[in-house]
Amino acid sequence: MKTLRRLARDRALVTGMVIVSLLVLAAIFATPLSNFPGHVTGFDPAFRLKPPGEVFWLGTDRMGADLYSRLLFGARLTILISISATAVAVLIGVPMGLVAGYFDRWYSDLLMRVSDVFLAVPQIVLAIAIAQTLGPAIQNVILALSATYWPFWARIVYAETRSLRNEVFIEAAIAMGASPLRVMVLHVLPSIASSIIVRTTIGMGATILAAASLGFLGLGAPPPTPEWGRMIAESREFLPQAWWYATAPGIAILLVVMGFNLLGDGLRDAIDPRIRRGS
């Protein structure tokens, strides 16, 4: 209860939580919330490039589709991409870090060296190369992102597992004859769960940004998918007249990424009081 109350006092955390919840709600209820749910990918020359107004709250795009509705369905896509990409990255990175950190054999070093090599190139550059090879499709974006982002989890899990190795409760579990798998899953993993959660929250923001960049570069889902990054790319032809066209998806990206970052920062401060702000 006390922890909960403290969390509620943290303005950054609450703001992050609200934004992320709104995103999730928008994604789930995209159909009832949107004004023209059936017309997200349609072509309606009569309504091309209308400025924001009473009918089209955020204006329309070059196809005459309602931007507000497209944003809502884009939220669905954003959530889908970032959750699956992060989930796959977690599923690769966490076991890898666990194994490398728990055992002290030749492959521990090797695994970490491999993750170092992946970290030696900016993530988005590698993701571009992979996505380009695979071709523009949603599942390829997910693959490219998870293939480049997993080392972050491997690194953090490795470091934390290493420092846990010498803790009494781990050694006790080993002495009691628990198998390595049991120790890792039942003892190590719960102790480092909070770090993983924080890293994952911030990682969600990072993958959303990266996915938007891929979309902007034309490596994301093909048109007319309402992908936020691609929407911004499409808008460039119609500037400066159709200023709303680029504005709305950009703000959506900004808010959502900010939401995840705030949430991650807030969680970290709450979990690790040593680095609590202002103390």
Partner: protein, 333 residues
Amino acid sequence: MRLLALALRRFLWMPPTLLGLTLIVFSVSHIIPADPARVLAGENAPVEQVEALRRKYGLDKPLPEQFVRYVTDVVGGNMGQSLYTQRQVASDLVERLPATFELALFAITLAVLVGLPLGVVSALYRNTWLDHAVRLVTIAGLAMAAFWLAILLQLLFSMQWNLTPVQGRIDGWGPDPITGFYTVDALIRGDFATLATSLRYLFLPMITLAIPAMATIVRFTRAGVLNVMNSNFVFYQAAMGLPRRVVIWKYILRAALIGTLTQIGLVFGNLLAGAVVVETVFSWPGLGTYAYNSILQSDYNAIMGFTLFTGAVFIGMNLLVDIAQAVLDPRSR
């Protein structure tokens, strides 16, 4: 002496890391696609052309052999031919490097010049409205999509207010290269008109790239300063009544900056990555635009070359940062 050993050790790690990177790029280009020769030739190429390419590049050989050949080629500076420019990818990249470096250097300089003081001030006045404002700006700066910011700035500064050129790097062809940095070349020649023009072109892309970099620097500097402020030596100096400004600007800052410095290597790498989209928006003729065009043309060798090249620059940057940190921190000497 310890310093030399450290530099050497770090240096020796470079080749294996680069080799690993080459393996990754090789896997992406040779193993993932079902038919690399088809990818290389382009989707609409006739079958004979595909087969010719396959033989020419040894794509019919076993994979390990291909990898050895790939590494030998890359080490010899051969990253294959660009489909689009019909030139060696390596020479394309080298030619475009100065434009990107000039932009990145301007951006990182701006980011450091603004970010460092902001981070320090934010820490010194923590939990005041000033601190809150700075932190809000940094949080937004880190969450903004660079390409969107670029378009927004373009919309306002170039299209709305006509203050800066919409895109490009210079009017006309630009000065004959000495260093390849237009600003520096113009300065060397004493050609201030060209200098002014190139600065006007630089302005928006520089700001776009600098903002997320600045946000990162502010965050790390602020955290570093707060951390040092809590250290025992700062307490001792306060207890001994040393003037606060001496403690802050000499002792706290120096200690906090070493931490920030390690970040600058990372930030610079992200700048190069950000350049891909930002250069695209501003048609800045650097590596980023090259990468974007290669994507549009499905210019395979060019993309892989760009990836390797960026990785190598990134690794080199981190090596420099490690050494610089060792030089600055007497404990690691």
